[in-house]
Amino acid sequence: MSDNRGRGTGDNSGSAPYDFGGAWQPSEIEVARRIARKKRNRKNALIAALSSLLVLGTLLVVLVTSPGWITLRDTFFKWAYGFEVLPKIILGFGTNATLTLIAGTSVALLGLLIALIRTSRSPALTPFRFLATIYVDVFRGIPMLLVILLVGFGIPALQLKGVTNNVLILGTIAVIITYSAYVAEVIRSGILTVHPSQRAAARSLGLSHIQTLRHVVLPQALKRVTPPLLNDLVALIKDTGLISILGVTDAIRAAQIQTAKSFNYTPYVMAALVFLAVTIPLTRMTDRMLRNSLERQNAQGQA
């Protein structure tokens, strides 16, 4: 659409320069104020940056000049060796990634279900609420290691017909059991923060209980708990590796195997880098989305 066509139509009425007779120019006072503000901010930011750099720099110097630095470097940061073992670690990371995808989805669904049961108020659901509470308390409270052992080694020991003894499947189930307890609590806290008047409004509009959850409560609840949910996702990526006790090799186990061979810890560092290569972009992306949506929604930003 060309400039000329837009003129004079109602569509264009929001465009400030047209409405208010020529583009607005900030006054001298405002210009001075902005410069002063920018200057002060820049100065403070500079002080903050310098002081952080100073602290970090000092730490770095202490580190590098310490008597044991060479030993430490050779033990933890022997890059040549690290790159040598990297392929094995990345191969192991395949396990983490696959399990995270599978377990992640199931954890989200099961966690959501448990959270919904726990936050329900109908007296008819009391027994389910009770069970859900026990579920969360127990599976959150016992070491995941034990859950994995019980499911991964215990179920095959039962020798039930038609039940798998595939460690990958059983291990994934164990991970799902544990993490859904955690995630249920996170989602629950999100649901609790949605003010009851929001439900009241939705129900008054004729939305059913489910529709209210789906369109009004959960969108708000989940947005609010995105950071802790991300916590759990990142932890999940790492913890899927716990099923290595069943004999599956994940990134950390791959690193451990290498370390056991060479007595050098660089493989662990490589594993960490592989994890970070996935989790940091994920976190940054989610964070940006969250911030944008909060900024769009909330006025009164700067107080």
Binding site: A200, G206, L207, H209, Q211
Partner: protein, 259 residues
């Protein structure tokens, strides 16, 4: 005593019939012995001091609060019965809250079309078209894609009103819909409500706006400490009340420069 709108006998079933309703929060009795009827195509307006129980009464009718006693009948059906499905009941009721209760995560437009598309199953394009008509009428066309938090108080209230109007309910419950509006918009809303009444809508309103009461009400009920103390046509209650409490209230309203 039959309460407001039951003076004449042999009338057809009223849209709403509340009988001996009672509601308390803990020790505090908020509503007591509330009995009234709202015949079809009429508007009943509740007036009364702050805290007298107006909002609570509307919430009870909407089944958002469980009453302690008494019955509420909608089109003759007892909606306060134990086995009633509130969802079905609420499909027939529209409500605007005193505190707007807009959905902060949805734009103005999304707020408005949520119920039509999800509850009534209207096609989205239709619902949007309908919504824009209402937005236009209330001067909010250019705010359709804003989030509620960015609107002024009056704009938010208008959106809440539009949201409830978009549903064509059997009975409309309006809780101080004009309180955050500027006088010009009060007029606008007033005429909207009048139009609605003209179209046959049945309404229950709570308001502090005596002018509003006067122009819209078929019957005005004066709520005082949880009881309906006096009721009747607006001319009577607002200009010639019998009880001293009512007189006192009306007098102070006049003093406040309203009406």
């Amino acid at each position: 005593m039959n309460g407001p709108s039951m003076n004449g006998s042999g009338m057809s079933t009223p849209v709403l019939r509340v009988e001996k309703l009672r509601k308390s929060f803990g020790d505090e009795i908020v509503l007591q012995d509330i009995t009234f009827s709202v015949p079809e195509h009429t508007a009943t307006v509740f007036i009364g001091a702050s805290g007298s129980g107006k909002s609570t009464l509307l919430r009870c009718i909407n089944l958002l609060e469980q009453v302690d006693d008494g019955t509420i009948k909608l089109d003759g059906e007892d909606i306060s019965a134990a086995d009633v499905n509130p969802d079905e009941v609420r499909k027939k009721l529209g409500m605007v809250f005193q505190a707007f209760n807009l959905f902060p995560h949805m734009t103005v437009l999304e707020n408005i079309i949520l119920a039509p598309t999800r509850v009534q199953g209207i096609r989205e394009e239709e619902a949007i078209a309908e919504a824009f008509k209402l937005l236009e009428r209330f001067g909010l066309r250019d705010k359709a894609d804003q989030y509620p938090d960015r609107l002024s108080g009056g704009q938010q209230q208008r959106v809440a009103i539009i949201r409830s109007l978009a549903r064509n309910p059997r009975l409309l419950l309006l809780d101080e819909i004009t309180s955050a509006l500027d006088p010009v918009l009060v007029n606008e809303v007033l005429s909207t409500v009048r139009d609605l009444k003209g179209e046959g809508m049945t309404m229950v309103l709570a308001t502090h706006e005596m002018g509003f009461a006067k122009q819209v009400a078929n019957e005005v009920c004066f709520l005082h400490q949880g009881k309906i103390l006096e009721w009747g046509p607006p001319e009577v209650i607002l200009e010639n009340p019998k009880l001293s409490e009512t007189r006192e209230f009306i007098k102070r309203v006049h003093d406040a420069g309203r009406l």
